[in-house]
Symmetry: C2
Subunit: 265 residues, 2 copies
């Protein structure tokens, strides 16, 4: 049994491309349709109501393109909008918060750190997910607003990024976290600087890989896996040139088909 | 002759508050109605078409509130959308690019630097304005994408901001600019770090003050000046709490009336 329909992947911008890359690696036979809502990015500084409104529109667009599963490859939207999206989308919806939380609780000695955008951290979604999996866990959360612009500047392992990481992560290091969830899909791009600041003995949980593994499981259980003809198609709502430059950096491809679309306002 | 109608001031977010502060200082008798389109910020990484669409919507909203003059207190929108806004708005429209350029050409020894967002610099608006005022000027422009997030983080004169400023401004210092236009309304907040990096002998042109002076002139010449009862009213399209925190930092007021509005999409 196989299902040739594409998997829809959605993010506010480029961050979700780390999830797309993980999906492509784990599931090379799948057609992947990625929508970056770059006309409205970033979501991470906006209110939950606004994020829900934007996310609904993007999900509806992808649902019209006959997807078999929707991946919300954005922590902010996963934290704020997963339930509303599940209600209004006719296919399974997978966010990045729960897969990351599940990987974090397996193997922690008891103290977990979470970093993300202001909006993701303010939502408390990771703390709730972690505590419902493991009520006795000590959880320390910290918003890191400059990490996304530093990643988008391409300063992945730059001296400035290392200095910012030391400032943001010092309280978490002091709290003795043994596991750190990279709760924003941009953050794996800064893995070197983050590891340097938090200490190499701290385990970093990248929700991109965890999410790809969860998608794999849902496809297999539901008889939805594709067979052959894997592909990647990118859609953006604005500034395609800027996106294309960052996309080839993250995906490591010279050119991936990229289309500028108009998401009706 | 006097005109009690408010002056409309528009920006994508908080940056334009530096222009608002300059207007309030120079024109204490005016009613100022500020609209920060925080649901769509930042404009600086978006395409010109999208910026025009957003700016039109904001201008139409303010025009409905019976303003006597519109200040586009955003360099990105001034660079991309001033002509379309002038066409569709029934009152005088003043942007921040020309006032800054006019101040810069008076008193330069011949080499001017311009810094701004990616979108403002890509538009070439400052270079065109400067060259039409003074064709023989040497102009060096540089996008500084991290300055806005650093300002929004409140790291105005932080060691990280000074390090970023040194990296961004080194080519302009090497080119021997004698005047530097702060071509983004956020940048006056980072004045200390910028002055330290470019050298204290370089004149910094803050378009906020230049724009306020131009508004004063237009009001006087048109018989539009207000008399007494000056006030400030702030409107935002999203995340009012975050905006309020930054607004009191910039305006130096504990509390300014702030209203969350819905700009129809």
């Amino acid at each position: 049994m196989s299902d040739p329909r594409p998997i829809g992947v959605f993010d506010s911008g480029i961050g979700g491309l780390t999830v797309l890359a993980a999906l492509r690696t784990l599931l090379p036979d799948e057609r992947l349709l990625y929508l970056g809502d770059t006309a409205r990015l970033p979501y991470g500084t906006k209110s939950a109501e606004t994020v829900v409104r934007y996310a609904r529109r993007a999900a509806a667009y992808l649902a019209h393109h006959d997807i078999k599963l929707l991946v919300v490859a954005c922590n902010t939207a996963s934290a704020a909008a997963l339930e509303p999206l599940t209600e209004c989308t006719p296919v399974p919806v997978i966010g990045v918060v729960w897969p990351g939380a599940r990987v974090a609780v397996v193997g922690t000695a008891g103290t977990v750190g979470v970093i993300g955008t202001e909006s993701t951290i303010a939502s408390g979604a990771y703390v709730r997910a972690l505590h419902s999996l493991e009520p006795d866990l000590a959880v320390h959360a910290r918003a890191c607003p400059l990490f996304v612009p530093l990643a988008e500047e391409g300063w992945f392992d730059h001296e400035v990024t290392r200095a910012v990481a030391r400032i943001y992560l010092e309280p978490l290091a002091r709290a003795g976290v043994d596991t750190l969830i990279l709760g924003c899909t941009h953050y794996p791009l800064l893995r070197g600087a983050i590891a340097g600041a938090i200490g190499s003995d701290v385990r970093l949980v990248d929700s991109a890989a965890a999410t790809a593994a969860e998608v794999d499981g849902v496809l297999r259980r539901g008889g939805l896996a594709g067979t052959g003809g894997g592909s990647v198609h990118l859609l953006v709502t604005d500034a395609a040139a800027r996106f294309a430059r960052l996309a080839s950096l993250i995906l490591g491809d010279a050119a991936v088909p990229l289309e500028l679309i108009d998401l009706p306002d």
